[in-house]
């Protein structure tokens, strides 16, 4: 069952130096209980697409177009009151920086309780009890005492647990997690990923995981979407993307990450480089946005934007040479 359906979503910020196309013609679906990772480097449009879906951008400064449907209900035409009823209730949100996402002058217990009371009728006392229940669930030791503390009294990992508790208190069907572990140390990241996995099983929530860390993707995702310069350049199951990447950018990304165990395999000391840098999103490109950095680029790449081609039932690639690569 399709939970979220995004079709031809574009987000454009008009600037004095021309339109900035942060998200360009993005389409994807998320099914019930599925984890979809959106992967890209800074400026690829991965965070803006999530913000657009949840209508969290200042819409006096940008233009959204396309279609976003949550269980068949159109979100782009929904008014603010309707969106507020959806956010935190049907859709939970986790951000990278728990310190800026939490209110510094309200105890964490009250903040979690507030999220519950916004969407369900319950007394303060019931909400406070539910908050403590959630803190226990996300593995915060001594939850009754911690509930009365302020965000600054908690460590980064604990704050992220509080964010997760808040996002999950209404048992959302969809959880959008934007770089949820990027600011954390690896041992704490491992704890948080474990927690997200066990809560996913318990609650059956679908997850949109936005990240640049391919290791986190491999551990969490069922399906992967690779974004480059605002566009989806490849989509497939996690196994397929890691084992048979088709787009030159995806191949480059996978090669650019050193893997643990490299010293044992006695591999030579060079990583795959993707030459150059991400293009300026204000400059409209005629052809493929990746062409200037692509070693296999031909004339056609500089002249026309490649459309998404389905190379397998579960694999889409936006590259003029995608089908040839399959044959090769």
């Amino acid at each position: 069952m399709v939970l979220l359906n995004v079709e031809h979503l574009s987000t454009v910020f008009p600037t004095s130096r021309g339109d900035l196309r942060a998200v360009n013609d993005l389409s994807f679906r998320v099914s019930k209980g599925e984890t979809v990772a959106i992967v890209g480097e800074s400026g690829s449009g991965k965070s803006v697409s999530a913000m657009s879906i949840m209508r969290l951008l200042d819409e006096s400064r940008c233009r959204l177009s396309g279609k976003v449907e949550l269980k068949g209900r159109d979100l782009l035409s929904a008014d603010e009151a309707a969106m507020r009823a959806i956010r935190g209730n049907q859709v939970g949100l986790i951000f990278q920086e728990p310190m800026t996402a939490l209110n510094p002058v309200v105890t964490v217990g009250r903040q979690i309780a507030e999220a519950a009371r916004l969407h369900e009728t319950m007394t303060r006392r019931q909400a406070a009890e539910k908050a403590i229940e959630m803190l226990t669930l996300v593995g915060i030791p001594d939850p009754r005492r911690r509930a009365n503390e302020y965000p600054h009294q908690l460590s980064g990992g604990m704050r992220q647990r509080v964010m997760i508790a808040m996002a999950l208190i209404c048992r959302p069907e969809l959880l959008i997690a934007d770089e949820p572990t990027t600011a954390l140390d690896v041992t704490v990241q491992a704890q948080i990923l474990d927690l997200m996995r066990s809560l996913r099983e318990q609650f059956g929530s679908a997850i949109i995981l936005i990240t640049h860390d391919l290791g986190v993707v491999a551990e969490m995702a069922d399906r992967v979407i690779i974004m480059y310069a605002g566009r989806k350049v490849e989509e497939g199951t996690a196994e397929e993307i890691f084992a048979h990447p088709r787009h030159p950018y995806t191949k480059g990304l996978l090669g650019a990450v050193p893997r643990l165990g490299s010293s044992l395999e006695g591999r030579s000391g060079r990583l795959v480089e993707i030459e150059g840098t991400v293009p300026d999103p204000r400059v409209a490109t005629v052809g493929c946005a990746f062409a200037p950095r692509c070693r296999g680029a031909a004339d056609i790449c500089r002249l026309s934007q490649p459309g998404l081609i389905r190379t397998r039932s579960d694999h889409e690639v936006a590259c003029h040479f995608a089908t040839e690569l399959v044959v090769a």
Binding site: E41, V186, E239, A256, R259, L264, I274
Partner: protein, 340 residues
């Protein structure tokens, strides 16, 4: 091989006020750390935030004054030199920082940024002579020569990091301290800079002290690794040993925490309990014992010392390893691991 940098029993304590009435206490940011870096070698210091790895680098640079310990650069003692005398030594000791946006003066042209150390160290007689050297340095870091006239904001993060590296290379140092020098960069750009460091080291015979939390990057480019936890080195050894047969339970947990970019990989993860304790009030005995799956009575009472496990210099500070190691280290303890 001779050591470019030697550090013995380095300590850095910061006074802090704890509690409402300002009870004074100390943060033990670095507590009895010893290591050396040989010419042309990369030693990486790894650990999580707050383990003291950056403080080690800053102390060597004398950006903060060490509380105790000895630091030698090419055999010259660094930590007792009056701060004015550091200038001469800094020629041999350069640094590249994490953030390429805040570490370059936004008002200076790239030429002036790179020329500054050359002028400071009197490394060129005329303007044209300095220009030639700057052009040469830009070649070394693979930036176009026309970058000279431009300002830092015209460059991307990766390019700015190259400018920072060119500036560090300018005085022809023997060692560069890289403090999370690739951590802020995007994946594709990170690979470029890692490769650049590897090339420069081979080309120029530079020693690198590479401070990082990214173990996969470290494994890729380092020769030896020191693992820090709460201000102390818990394990040090060559790359192969640390990554294939880590001895300390913390190193083992750290390595198993790293997500592997392969969905089919079998995970045998040891998830650590809890979080890093406060360095103001570190646990008694072994500092890792509160999170260690193998901790026993002795760990709470007695602090384990680094003991040599192999002839290649693999050292582990853990009571579990002491008995094994005692036999082959008896009477053979290096000055590196002796307390002051």
């Amino acid at each position: 091989m001779s050591s470019v940098l030697e550090v013995f029993n380095l300590r850095k304590y910061y006074p802090v006020r704890a509690g409402l009435f300002g009870r004074s206490a100390e943060v033990h940011a670095v507590d009895d750390v010893s290591f050396h870096v040989d010419a042309g070698e990369t030693l990486s210091i790894v650990g999580e935030s707050g383990c003291g790895k950056s403080t080690v680098g800053r102390t060597i640079l004398r950006l903060v004054e060490p509380t105790a310990g000895e630091i030698y650069l090419d055999g010259w003692r660094v930590d007792t030199v009056p701060i004015q005398g550091m200038r001469r030594l800094r020629k041999k000791l350069q640094v590249v920082y994490q953030d390429p946006f805040s570490s370059l003066n936004p008002r200076l042209s790239v030429r002036d940024i790179i020329a500054e150390p050359l002028e400071n160290f009197g490394m060129g007689q005329s303007r044209s002579e300095i220009d030639d050297q700057v052009a040469d340095l830009l070649d070394k870091v693979r930036l176009p020569r026309d970058a000279m006239k431009r300002l830092p904001h015209e460059f991307s993060g990766g390019q700015r990091q190259r400018i920072g590296i060119a500036r560090a290379l300018a005085p022809k140092p023997d060692i560069i301290i890289c403090d999370e020098a690739v951590s802020a960069l995007d994946v594709s750009v990170k690979a470029q800079i890692v490769n650049l460091f590897t090339d420069l080291q081979q080309e120029l015979g530079l020693a690198l002290l590479f401070i990082s939390h990214d173990l996969a990057i470290v494994e890729h480019l380092t020769h030896r690794v020191a693992v820090m936890y709460l201000g102390q080195i818990v394990e040090i050894g060559d790359r192969r040993t640390i990554f294939s047969a880590p001895g300390h339970p913390y190193t083992q947990a750290l390595l198993s925490s790293i997500p592997v970019a392969d969905p089919k990989a079998k995970r045998n993860r040891q998830v650590l309990r809890g979080e890093v304790p406060s360095p103001v009030n570190p646990p008694s005995g072994c500092r890792f014992r509160t999170r260690c799956a193998y901790a026993f009575d002795r760990c709470a009472v007695e602090m384990p010392r680094l003991v040599r496990k192999t002839a290649e210099g693999h050292q582990v500070a853990c009571h579990l390893h002491e008995n094994v190691a005692a036999a082959d280290t008896a009477g053979n303890a290096s000055k590196e691991i002796q307390p002051a």
